[in-house]
Amino acid sequence: MTLNIESRTKTVSETGLPVDEIVVNIGPSHPSTHGVGRVLVHLDGDIVVKADMIVGYLHRGIEKMAENRTYLQVCPLTDRLDYVGSMYANWAYCRAVERLAGIRVPERAEYIRVIVCELQRIASHMMGIGSAAADTGATTMFIYAFDVRERIIELFEVLCGSRLTYNYVRPGGVSMDLPEGWTDDVLKFTSTVRRPLDEMDKLFFGNTIARGRLKGVGVLSAEDAVAWGASGPTARGSGVNWDLRKHDPYSVYPRMEFDVVIGDNGDAYDRDRVRLLECYESVKIIDQAISQMSGGAYKADGLARLITPPPGDAYDHIESARGSLGVYLVSDGSPRPYRMKVRSPAFCNLALVPKLAVGHTLADLVVVLGSLDPVFGEVDR
């Protein structure tokens, strides 16, 4: 595997004139690829004529590793998939295991899962908006967004002792009950978080330069969004009303009142702004969940440490911060999964880069990439 690339190629344009294209290699280590993505961009002047998105630089073979671990031992691996939103992969995996093994989850555990996942959604969206802003050069916005994220990380640290890889949602419930006073801390957070969110809305989305950079860039039509399998804020930014929390309800989401935020134009601005507005909805959901939550068990009773589901297969998905995150599990009756497949939303969204970037300038390519909010742990698995 070598990294050498030809930096110039000669092609003929549609009009028959020879074009001297410059090939710019962006990545795999580049400040705006959000990890280890790589884009080979063919430029005609400053206009992208072809963008080849190359992924796989973080392919760790988690699906293969899962085949040699018990169902419980796979949980920590799922943390490392989407490292910006570890709770989601935990939950999606646990839902698939629960469906496969027929485990009933207590109500309190479902509420706890909803609370932590909505907190995680805010944290993840903050990272998404922040890094999308940093791609356009607004470093300060990134730091403000990260500040909000840091407050959530502190809450999680109190909850399960870890800052990033929580391993909190387990098959049958959650790993431990909420610490005393934790819900008060969360309520304190939700009552104060609107101010920084408003501030960010003004600082970045109200800024003339930012609007000029984001509006009209990487326009994705609603039909294309559905056909290309886009989900989450990427699809909702294009006006596709598709949110698994509403349209394929799971857990206790049917009891929650919230709106699905959708954009109008399907450009980078809409995708990024949908993320910000979803944070307000998440705050609403957290408040409702805390007020509805009652006591009880946080974990299913009589759950064996070694889960041995009957042979069969199960697929379950949740709405993660990046879209519909699904886990497909095949069991052969042994204590280890026969096959685990993670349907990664970031992977499907990222497949749109070659489509969206063409016709824009090089400066817009990083905006397009940022607006899809890829996390390469999940893309490459």
Binding site: M1, G56, V226, W228, W242, D313, Y328, K341, L350
Partner: protein, 153 residues
């Protein structure tokens, strides 16, 4: 829409597909042979399954099972399409023209399972380097560099 309704609706919309419909572990499954896959996909696309969620494969030893998960917003339901291919000669039609979402997902299955999707516009390895040998998610894959985890549960 629950599964009975879905089955009813499916037989109404597409009498051709109804005989292939079955229930497996609480999921709706359409099982077809690999040479009929493309026309089945077109048919399903026609009746409203506009979203291809997932493409994957399972190595069952004597055969490979290809699993497609479809979703429909108009029918508000989901189903699996499953088909078998032989590991010795793994060829199947690409569904890229039906759902462009199959693009990268089929490349991934090609990369990790070695299933060749005929008609795919850009079938290259996606996860592993181009000079990688073998298809790691097959059960018979072996690599001396892989250290097997000690068997403690």
């Amino acid at each position: 829409m629950n599964l009975d309704e879905l089955q009813h609706r499916l037989s109404e919309l597409s009498p051709v597909l109804a005989p292939f419909f079955s229930l497996e572990f609480g999921d709706a499954v359409v099982g077809v042979s690999s040479d009929k896959l493309l026309e089945t996909a077109r048919e399903l696309r026609e009746i409203g399954f506009d979203r291809l969620g997932m493409v994957t494969a399972v190595d069952r030893g004597e055969f490979l099972t290809l699993v497609y998960r479809l979703q429909s917003r108009s029918l508000s339901s989901a189903l699996f399409v499953k088909t078998k291919v032989s590991p010795a000669e793994p060829h199947v039609a690409s569904l890229f023209e039906v759902w462009p979402a199959a693009n990268w997902q089929e490349r991934e299955v090609f990369d990790l399972f070695g299933i060749v999707f005929d008609g795919h516009p850009d079938l290259r390895r996606i996860m592993l380097p181009d000079d990688f040998d073998g298809h790691p998610l097959r059960k018979d894959y072996d690599n001396p560099a892989m250290i097997r985890r000690p068997d403690y549960i």
